[in-house]
């Protein structure tokens, strides 16, 4: 008689390779929301300036870059206002790095919770990415404010219709960061070596992305490396949209980046599904 009965849950040792249980994640959407809230709220608890830190961080970074790279080292910014140029770069880059960095610790950081209670594991990295998006939006507003201020002070800026791509860029960066982060996280459960690699890996990654140097300043082999970097078209398009830097490459490159992101994300889900079943035994 039990054959005809309906089971709410069937657990088997091996599952299909690709399963993205969206229904289950939807059922736990409240948890997703709570995690996002926890991330945002807890970050600036017991600070005086509180959420103001969201603004202070990018301003200080851009300011440092302006002084060191712009004024002392005198690096080119394609004749655009230096501060805005660096602010554009760091706002985007920080968002991506944040997504990658925090999702890459998914399994290790949450081992305590994961070991005791079940919920769809993907909730955890997803929530981190959503809080990063929120953080980005706040910082993006700061960027817009600075941009508007400079635009009306007759700076050399040519905002254009590439701006329509901005939401798509945000999505791309989020998914790419999530995908790469999940892959790293899945491997670190067993091999902790990656954990040491990831933090300075992200920094090195930044130097082959046109965050500080504009794309036009890279030459020869370095140029090829930078062009192969899927983050390059995103940052370039972002800058092109607001500042109006040379943009012939940017749009074509976005196709490459989109394809790369899709492949990485599929691979990530695949690996994640494999690892989440048994990671408690190896973590």
């Amino acid at each position: 008689m039990s054959n005809s009965e309906e089971w709410d849950l069937i657990v088997k040792p091996k599952s299909s390779w690709f399963e993205f249980n969206f229904k289950e994640i939807w059922r736990y959407r409240d948890l997703l929301f709570m995690f996002v809230k926890r991330d945002i709220v807890s970050t600036y608890k017991q600070t005086i300036l509180g959420p103001l830190w969201f603004f202070i961080q990018p301003i200080l970074t851009a300011l440092t870059f302006t002084i060191i790279f712009g004024n002392i080292a005198n690096l080119s910014t394609d004749d655009k206002p230096k501060f805005l140029f660096y602010l554009a770069g760091t706002t985007c880059w920080n968002y991506f790095a944040d997504c990658l960095n925090s999702t890459s610790g998914t399994f290790i950081n949450n081992a305590g919770i994961f070991g005791k209670v079940y919920f769809p594991r993907l909730i955890s990295p997803l929530s981190v990415v959503i809080s990063s998006v929120l953080k980005f939006l706040i910082q993006f507003m700061l960027f817009i404010a600075v941009f508007v201020l400079m635009y009306f002070n007759d700076a050399n800026l040519q905002p254009n219709k590439l701006m329509l791509f901005i939401p798509f860029l945000v999505l791309l960066m989020g998914i790419m960061g999530l995908g790469l982060g999940i892959i790293v996280s899945s491997f670190t459960t067993k091999y902790r070596d990656l954990r040491f690699l990831i933090s300075f890996g992200i920094q090195l990654f930044m130097y082959i992305t046109p965050v500080i140097l504009p794309l036009s300043q890279f030459k020869g082999l370095m140029k090829k490396v930078v062009m192969a970097n899927p983050m390059t078209p995103i940052i370039e398009t972002f800058k092109a949209a607001f500042l109006g830097v040379p943009k012939d490459y940017a749009i074509n490159g976005l196709f490459y980046t989109t394809a790369f992101t899709i492949v990485v994300f599929c691979l990530a889900i695949l690996i994640f599904n494999k690892v989440e079943k048994s990671f408690m035994d190896t973590v």
Binding site: E5, I10, V11, M34, V41, I113, V117
Partner: protein
């Protein structure tokens, strides 16, 4: 006929022993290569029965193997077994925190476990925020938590601190709040792991009380415990795990019986002079321990209420700088819980050292109820421990007629008896 809510089929879980590090990659590659060729996982063939005490040949063990059982709705299933028998592994698999290596199981309804009390509490967040966070982690929706919020705060008794970060809570308040959330989960199936119920007596009672409530509401409970009394009281079904395999399943009485029978085997009498696992300086050796009943006969079986004597025979091996020593017997129940100690020190009995000593403890009425009891012996002098032997001797109590009126008392639930006088006006 009642519904089956959990159906477990041939469940198995294999663990790799030792460190993960060098060699893991080669194992992983080996496995992968075998899979590519469509062959069986080479390491699944290895692995042996999980016996902690014996050194194995393989690096892989089965923490759980071929476990199959059904649980009906409303059952309270007590899972018993020694440490390392696979109880917690089974619960982990059922609560989906790890997946089985082989086999499968099916579940109807929501599973929640009281082993995750306080999971995911964030120290920086207030009690209020943590109730929502923790509730969501345990699988409640926001509206569910909202509707039970006042009840949870009431139950926890920390209302005054509800907007204070939980890092400022005392550990007691922390646990109370955490438990209050878990207790209001109202799952169809509840898992309780006693090992993790680390709180004080009040908290443990609350846990057990909650379990009773849940089972009375016709919901299903899985209960892991070493406390045989609690299992007997609360459960109607039992599952006995031994070294990762199912030793027995059925009604709680029969399962407990087969469990304690196994425990008896452990205590089969041994020749004490050949025991190697003794501690102490060895100047005196415990040769023998025996029980003599009220009729002067040597025995290992008693009834509750019987008069009996415990006798220790010792032999002097070498002299030491004292002319007397002390002796004590420590009595434990079949599950290793220490019950009581009788000592020549307590009774101010002087034992003068001779070539052979006989020390006798007379017990007027055996206070223990049905079960197996082990006796450990300890000899010492002012200076140091002379001989210390764990589980030197065991005896059984088989009948609970403590008051000698021909009626067995306590229906195997009470653990000990005492003398009393009763008055009525």
């Amino acid at each position: 006929m009642r519904n089956t809510v959990i159906k477990v089929e041939n469940l198995g879980k294999q663990y790799r022993l030792g460190d993960i590090g060098t060699g893991t990659i080669s194992h992983d590659l080996n496995r992968w290569w075998a899979r590519v060729r469509g062959k069986e996982d080479p390491f699944l063939k290895l692995g042996e029965v999980n016996d902690r005490t014996q050194k194995g040949i393989s690096d892989f063990v089965w923490a759980l193997k071929d476990v199959s059982f059904d649980v009906n709705q409303g059952d309270v299933l007590g899972i018993i077994g020694k440490n390392g028998a696979g109880k917690s592994t089974l619960l982990k698999i059922l609560s989906r925190t790890t997946s089985p290596t082989t086999g499968s199981y099916k579940v109807k309804g929501r599973i929640a476990s009281l082993l995750e009390v306080g999971t995911g509490f964030h120290p920086e967040l207030s009690g209020r925020e943590n109730i929502f966070l923790n509730g969501a982690i345990l699988g409640m929706t926001k509206s569910e938590i909202k509707s039970k919020f006042d009840e949870i705060v009431d139950f926890s008794g920390v209302e005054r601190y509800i907007d204070t970060p939980v890092k400022r809570y005392s550990s007691g308040m922390y646990v109370r709040l955490a438990f209050a959330v878990a207790a209001h989960l109202e799952p169809e199936i509840l898992i309780v792991d006693e090992v993790l119920a680390v709180g004080d007596q009040e908290f443990q009672d609350k846990c057990l009380g909650k379990m009773k409530d849940v089972s009375q509401q016709g919901r299903t409970v899985l209960f892991v415990s070493h406390n045989i009394g609690a299992v007997k009281n609360l459960c109607n079904k039992g599952l006995y795990l031994r070294n990762g395999t199912m030793a027995d399943i059925g009604s709680v009485e029969t399962v407990l019986q087969s469990y304690s029978m196994d425990m008896e085997k452990k205590f089969l009498s041994k020749d004490l002079t050949t025991r190697e696992d003794r501690k102490g300086d060895g100047s005196i050796l415990v040769k023998n321990i025996e029980i003599v009943n009220g009729f002067g006969q040597q025995t290992d079986t008693l009834n509750a209420g019987d008069k009996f004597s415990l006798k220790i025979n010792t032999a002097k091996i070498k002299n030491f700088n004292n002319d007397h020593f002390y002796a004590a017997l420590i009595i434990r129940d079949g599950f290793g819980d220490r019950l009581t100690t009788i000592s020549s020190d307590f009774s101010k009995t002087k034992i003068s050292l001779k070539d052979e000593n006989e020390i006798t403890f007379d017990i007027e009425k055996c206070p223990f109820s049905t079960g197996v009891y082990s006796v450990s012996v300890l000899l010492w002098s002012e200076a140091n421990i002379i001989d210390d032997l764990e589980n030197a001797f065991s005896f059984k109590v088989i009948e609970n007629d403590y008051y000698g009126n021909g009626v067995s008392q306590g229906a195997n639930i009470d653990r000990f008896f005492m003398d009393y006088k009763c008055y009525a006006k």
